[in-house]
């Protein structure tokens, strides 16, 4: 009786326990990925919330060049209507990033607007939000890498295969986010 208990104990310590630990580690990593993904959403939501204010401030200054504004507004309503797949949503959000940066470039032509305190503040908030979105994407990619390492590296790869865990895709960071921010382009120093 006692020897078989010892064998059972050794089996538990050497086989079952590591399996449990590794499995839990993988689950924690997967949850980290999901958490990171939802943070991107939070940051994107923040940007969406900024747009109505931005549009309202800018409208009084630029009637003629409203294409850029229309584009931004259109994309925003597309996003808040929802009903898109994750992939589509990412595409639309990337379009919005592009539209907003075009919009900022257009503003260069309006010195009055640049001098507007309210607009200035909004632009700062927008810059901040863009940087936070980029940070959360990088954070997501880091947790995906961590998870993928766990799935592909021995011995956790065996357990991942049994638990049917699949490799996750990383985010493409848009080129506009990767390049350095040129300050003189945005503000008079």
């Amino acid at each position: 009786m006692i020897p078989s208990l010892i064998v059972l104990g050794v089996f538990f310590v050497l086989v079952i326990l590591p399996v449990i630990l590794i499995f839990n580690g993988l689950v924690a990593k997967r949850n980290q990925v999901e958490y990171a993904f939802s943070s991107i959403d939070t940051m994107l939501k923040k940007r969406i919330d900024l747009i109505p204010n931005l549009v309202a401030t800018v409208k009084q200054y630029m009637d003629h060049e409203s294409e850029v504004l229309t584009e931004v507004t259109k994309l925003r309503s597309q996003i808040i209507t929802g009903g898109m797949s994750d992939d589509d949503k990412i595409k639309v959000e990337n379009k919005l990033t592009q539209a907003l940066s075009n919009f900022i470039v257009t503003i260069e032509k309006y010195p009055d607007l640049k001098a507007n305190q309210n607009f200035n503040q909004l632009q700062r908030t927008l810059n901040e939000t863009e940087e936070q979105i980029s940070a959360s994407r990088r954070s997501y990619n880091a947790s995906v890498m961590d998870f993928n390492n766990g799935i592909e590296m021995f011995p956790s790869s065996i357990i991942a295969a049994f638990a049917n865990m699949r490799k996750k895709e990383m985010f493409e960071i848009p080129e506009t986010e990767r390049r350095n921010v040129d300050v003189s382009e945005l503000f008079d120093k």
Binding site: E128, Q132, R138
Partner: protein, 323 residues
Amino acid sequence: MKTKKEFHSFYHEELRPHLDSHEETRIAFVKKRNKVILILTIIELPAMLFILLVLNNFYFMLISLLVTIAIGYFILGHDHKNFKNAYKRQVISKIVRFVEPGLNYRPTAYITRDEYYDSQLYLKNYDRYSGEDLVEGIYGKTRLKFSELKTEYKTTSTDSEGNTRTSWHTIFDGLFFMADFNKNFSSRVVVLPDTAQKLFGFLGQKLQSWNFSRDELIKLENAEFEESFVVYGNDQIEARYILSPVLMEKIVALKKSVGTDISISFINSRINIAIPLNRDLFEPQTNIPVNTFSAVQEFFDDLIDFVEIVDDLQLNTRIWTKE
């Protein structure tokens, strides 16, 4: 920022008259020092011979030598300190204001214990805390502050004969730099020199994640940065918001330009940088003339290097909500 050429004309127009008077003090000090050394040698040498040959006591001779040296220090120490302090008060503070009018210099002040503690760069408890040469003020839009700082801890050991020996070990010795960071944040990030990963690769990274005295390990995507540093923080996303791809590149460049293992932390909306140095900053020499251009140029170069950290890390770039 001021150029070397501008400093050259500042030296001729403003500094030179002051430096000449400090040079007189220095020459007077050196004369007095030589005289004191001569007199003490004349007294001490025969005394040592007498103790050694007549009394035949080696230890007593050593003690008399040490006492004489102590007397020499006692006589000269005060003069040296006066010379040094007057020089710092007048010359160094002029150079500081020349480099950047928004800055002030206080020769005997230094980064406070609270500031050092809050930076969380060094967690080891210290037994001795000292520093000098505090520069503080505003450069552009950034409030900054730096000084020399040295922290040490002691260990005591007792040998078999019951003698206790105390030895001092340095925790940090160098320049401690603090500045207002250009983004708002509420979490904390500590960037330390990487040792484990360099030695053990992937396993080293595993070890780093088990550092219980620090927050979570933050893995970043800039390979060169990851090679030199290990990052801990309590918010994965905000850490990346602070350490943007651009800032990581700038930090790597800063590390290269200083040439030592720097540590950085981002806490309470501030950036703290600890740069270990093995030389004493802003000290006038007594053995060479102090009124030459080369004698003051070193102080100017050092100051420019430290203040320019603000530019190097683009801390005056205020395009986010923090103004």
